[in-house]
């Protein structure tokens, strides 16, 4: 019960912080938009379905990295001491994961809208494609939150975030791209179930590990 109250308070705090600092979120959205437009100009309309798929996921990956980077870095180091006295570390990391998962899902839907309006929309099984997108973003958030927490404690944050995050996110990304490719050509739910199960499994493991490991790094 206490955990739910804490979680609720932390989520409201995240929302409030986001609202007060709209420029941060605006920066991420602008980044996404610029990448899509850049891809549109670079490919000049000549794009096949496989390239569409790979490009879409790469753009989402970079935007997600950017968005989650600010999850820990924008918070003042000293504020963590304050949180430390108020809530348990597992609730704290879970709140971060939930908030960032929701943020990434919104970002991905926006990204899909912008991307398909510039590059066309070849997706045939739209609902499965969207489920895959949703699961993928939740997975990204659960893997990258802990990485962001680690990177925020070290020097040259952004490079480190990318270096630490890419090898860990790659398994998830490969599964996502493959399932996404299937849904583009049209598929049934039973055909993509193994992919979904893998994504959920990786997500569950990442969340469990974050809960176990985060308490060790959050007090400095």
């Amino acid at each position: 019960m206490k955990a739910i109250v804490e979680l609720n308070a932390l989520l409201r705090k995240e929302l409030l912080l986001e609202w007060r600092r709209q420029s941060a979120l605006g920066g991420v959205i602008l980044y996404l938009f610029s990448m899509v437009f850049l891809a549109y100009l670079a490919f000049d309309g000549r794009i096949n379905t496989e390239t569409w798929n790979a490009l879409f996921w790469l753009i989402l990956l970079f935007s997600a990295m950017n968005a989650i980077m600010k999850a820990f870095i924008q918070e003042n180091e000293r504020r963590h001491i304050y949180y430390y006295t108020m809530v348990s570390p597992t609730t704290f990391i879970n709140a971060k994961i939930i908030y960032n998962a929701v943020l990434l899902v919104c970002l991905a839907l926006l990204g899909f809208a912008v991307f398909s309006s510039f590059m066309g929309n070849p997706v045939q099984s739209l609902s499965l494609f969207l489920i895959n997108l949703l699961l993928g973003m939740v997975g990204f958030a659960s893997v990258l939150c802990l990485v962001s927490a680690i990177a925020s404690r070290a020097r040259n944050n952004f490079t480190l975030m990318a270096v630490l995050g890419f090898p860990l996110i790659l398994p998830l990304l490969l599964v996502l791209i493959r399932v996404s490719g299937q849904t583009i050509y049209g598929t049934s739910f039973s055909a993509v179930t193994p992919g979904f199960v893998t994504i959920l499994l990786l997500t569950a493991i990442a969340i469990t590990l974050s809960n176990v490991l985060f308490p060790y790094i959050w007090k400095d």
Binding site: V143, L146, V147, I150, R153, A154, R155, N156, L160, V163, L164, F166, P167, L168, L170, P171, L174, V175, P194, G195, T198, L201, L202, I205, A206, L209, S210, L213, Y216, I217, D220
Partner: protein, 228 residues
């Protein structure tokens, strides 16, 4: 005598590897299509890969120990283990690439097993970069230990799951390609293969102890020069 009692396993390791190098190159092997003489690579490539997994697993254990008991020695041990693991991983990749050139016709093919290997090497290089970018020794140890545990678990799930999910793999041991399951290995190769595994394990552990002691001495020197 004391010296011998402490170091006999190093001599055993050297003898085993001399046996493996000489025997591995000289003894008769079954003549199989496509593979021919390249089958000898199993003594080196597979042995080194097992050695890498063994030493990286040791690194994971040291990282967990560090998180539980905060002993700085465990952190240094974990780092030493990862460095040895990277060396063995690089050698495993190199021997694999040479083998691939003569069996598959090119140094690199797009195969889930090979990509998994690269992801593993990248993960541990990232671990080294992470250590380089934190100054405070205590903080460095804690962040590195947390990353090591996180990365090891995700990486091993990755190499367990993805090749099974993927459409196809041409690497031995997958998709019905023979490798190490019972009965696949010819009897005349076992007398070199099993010593090879033992030899590479001993070599990995020996390198690890040398590296660990060097690092500890360097830390001592650093401490002394800082204090004086």
């Amino acid at each position: 005598m004391q010296n011998f009692r402490n170091n006999w396993w190093k001599i055993a390791g050297i003898l085993l590897l001399v046996w493996v190098i000489a025997g591995g190159l000289l003894f008769d092997v079954p003549q199989l299509p496509v593979l021919h003489e390249t089958i000898r690579n199993i003594y080196y490539h597979v042995g080194m890969w097992f050695g890498m997994i063994f030493i990286l697993f040791a690194g994971l254990v040291f990282s967990i120990r560090y998180l539980l008991w905060n002993d700085p020695a465990d952190d240094v041990k974990a780092y030493a283990a990862v460095l040895v693991g990277l060396l063995f991983g690089a050698l495993g990749l190199l021997t694999g690439m040479i083998w691939a050139k003569f069996t598959w016709g090119s140094f690199w093919v797009n195969d889930p097993k090979l990509n998994g290997a690269v992801v593993g090497v990248l993960t541990y290089l990232a671990y080294v970069v992470l250590r380089g970018s934190v100054d405070d020794r205590d903080k460095k140890a804690r962040l590195a230990a947390v990353y090591n545990v996180f990365a090891f678990v995700l990486f091993f799930i990755f190499i367990m799951i993805i090749p099974r999910l993927a459409s196809a793999s041409i690497h031995p041991g997958l998709d019905g390609n023979p490798a190490l399951s019972t009965g696949d290995l010819a009897p005349e190769m076992r007398k070199v293969f099993f010593p090879a595994i033992a030899g590479w394990f001993i070599m990995a552990y020996w390198l690890f102890t040398v590296l660990y002691r060097t690092m500890r001495i360097n830390l001592k020197i650093e401490e002394i020069t800082e204090n004086s």
